[in-house]
Amino acid sequence: MSESALLRARGVTRWYGRGSALVRAVDEVDLEVPAGQTVAVMGPSGCGKSTLLHLLGGLQRPTDGEIWLAGHRIDTMSERALARMRRQHIGFVFQSFHLMDELTAVENVELAALLAGQSPRRARRRALDLLDRVGLADRATHLPSALSGGQRQRVAIARALSNEPLIVLADEPTGNLDSAATLEVLRLFEELRTAGQTLVVVTHDARIAAIADRMISMRDGAFADDSRFAGAGNGSAAGTGTIYGGWR
């Protein structure tokens, strides 16, 4: 097992139920994510990909196996230490955004930093920077209800980044978005990827998988396919003919 992996999972298993109703949602999964890698985990609904993400982020504990983040074993950590780990080092992005309706965009983004003990002034400055980075500087004082779905998800991504997490874990981040909003989120993930942010995205949206460095297919709780894409694309618009040969 390489030492350089930021996130390592070994034999990770999660069961639900018991006896004949036993479901192996995640079945002996091994995974190593080096720092800076963007990984997309795809698979049909019910294949265990969301459960896997929850296990990797310490939101649920595995039935068996080990999970290490930045050299710390998190599956056996105390609840309190795990909560601190999540607050400080892991950024979460969910399908349904999970923003606080009563708080403005900037307040949502700075909340995590405030909870982690940063000074209000510093937290605010960082939150404004992040909103600028996701293209929402002019929406900072809007309530979520005044924002579109794509804008809300971008606020949620800014929030996930507020503590400079070691890793961002996203669960179907485009699941509730129309195609224009999906494009905004894709652009943002592509920028994060280029900036070297480590990112694990669980999705059934092939467009997300297409910006990843690595794509894992999951079936019945296990990895069925694991492919790495060589080299980062250069974004050139040339060569469309080879991309979809017969469609002219």
């Binding site: 092939a206 467009r207 297409a210 910006i211 894409f229 694309g233 050139s236 469309t240 469609w247």
Partner: protein
């Protein structure tokens, strides 16, 4: 047609019904004449051999067709090739059917390989589409390419579900 012979040798009419079974309503268009003409060409190309068998008293002599080693190689190469030159769903579907029937390859593995290839193309098209400097008109073509590829990928997902399920049933049937 070669792939349909890979499972076991067959008479021409058997071959025709295999193809029809694999293609469903789309296979109805193929007539017996086409099957025999194609078999003759394949034999000429050295991919197929045939042997005359004793006909029943009321039937003429019949030929059983089988793959030559070259024919087998050709089928194996065809199965693993991932090009998607035009959106030819029928051909890919036949690959899956032939692979499963002749136990030539795991259909789900063929789906995986194809998906890798389509994702690679989607990745290129999307990287290009996300580039803000792309001219809007050129962007339109890219959007079309992305939409086509997404539709193909969705269909591959359906293939994956169906063939995974079949595999599971077959494993259960003979433990």
């Amino acid at each position: 047609m070669l792939a349909m012979l890979a499972k076991e040798p067959a008479y021409g009419y058997e071959l025709r019904s295999r193809i029809r079974a694999a293609l469903g309503p789309l296979g109805e268009a193929m007539n017996a004449g086409q099957v025999y003409v194609t078999l003759a060409r394949l034999a000429k190309a050295g991919l197929v051999t045939s042997q005359r068998t004793e006909g029943l008293p009321d039937r003429p002599d019949r030929r059983v067709y089988a793959l030559t080693p070259a024919g087998q190689q050709r089928v194996a190469a065809w199965l693993t090739e991932v090009s998607w030159p035009k959106p030819d769903l029928g051909e890919f579907h036949l690959k899956l059917v032939a692979a499963a029937a002749g136990r030539l390859a795991d259909p789900v593995a063929l789906v995986d390989a194809q998906r890798r290839e389509l994702l690679r193309r989607l990745r290129e098209a999307q990287r290009a589409a996300l580039d803000r400097s792309v001219d809007p008109v050129a962007g339109l073509l890219l959007e079309g390419v992305v939409l086509r590829l997404r539709a193909d990928l969705e269909w591959l997902e359906a293939c994956e579900r169906a063939w995974t399920e079949r595999g599971r049933i077959q494993r259960k049937a003979k433990p």
